[in-house]
Subunit: 159 residues, 2 copies
């Protein structure tokens, strides 16, 4: 299985880059992992709804261009479905059984993802009712992907 | 308001220590913040239920001794109640209005917290249906506390 994480904006903080790198390395023992960072649209402080929609739309075009053909798509959004780590693990296994060899996970900017992307995703996944910064959400997601793969392979990481 | 975070086990990873330090510094602009790290009981790989219960009980004694008298207590546990960031913010405000000047938040070891601690807590709080490592949960919690305080003070961090 190939896991492809597409995120918007650069992880500027060193500690977040190190955290992601740690989990990505752990994931690479179980699956092929690819990462794509899409540049985020620059917005003023307190942007209008219209400006936000335009930015999300521009980001969505770049994200769409980066999704491999035939890949399953998981869109991260707070209003998505919450899964336990075991359910996420089973969900990834199911995609594999359905013949999906690539799973692309999308993490938007601090304004999230365009509605069009959420609508086309196979799964809309929420990690929490709480709002986390998208930068921290990426580390949390990488940890969950590693945990899910570890559960599938019967490893001892998850207890 | 004084926020007191009691966690079990040392944060060994530099990136996690840096992440916590970043949010703790941000919290300190809004509230007094105290941190106590309780030593965790050493357990073998694949410990028995009995050994785990003994370890949780020993950790619970140390945690209890560190909770300031009269403090409100929030116990972090996966089976707890999920709150949105806005609800957590309102909850902290409520505790303040009830005259609780200290809120102590408990994060257990990788085996969680003893049932006795969860039973005595004013709030059992869950951040996610997913299982996160307690080390990463501490960074997530610090971010949420900062976000909650920022929402209460009308800051622009939360959007």
């Amino acid at each position: 299985m190939i896991i492809h994480i597409i995120s918007v904006g650069r992880l500027k903080d060193k500690w977040l880059r190190e955290g992601c790198a740690e989990y990505i390395k752990m994931i690479s023992g179980h699956a092929q992992i690819r990462e794509t960072e899409i540049p985020d649209e620059k917005l003023p402080d307190s942007p209008s709804e219209k400006l936000i929609a335009q930015a999300l739309s521009a980001e969505a075009e770049r994200i769409t261009a980066a999704i491999p053909k035939g890949s399953a798509v998981i869109a991260m959004c707070i209003e998505g479905k919450q899964l336990s780590s075991e359910e996420l693990s089973a969900g990834l296994d199911d995609l594999c059984l359905q013949g999906k060899s690539t799973v692309t996970v999308l993490i938007g900017s601090s304004y999230g993802l365009a509605d069009s992307l959420k609508a086309r995703a196979d799964v809309r996944l929420s990690m929490s009712r709480m709002t986390f910064p998208h930068r921290l959400a990426k580390v949390m997601l990488c940890e969950q992907i590693y945990r899910a793969l570890s559960i599938s392979s019967g490893g001892r990481y998850h207890k």
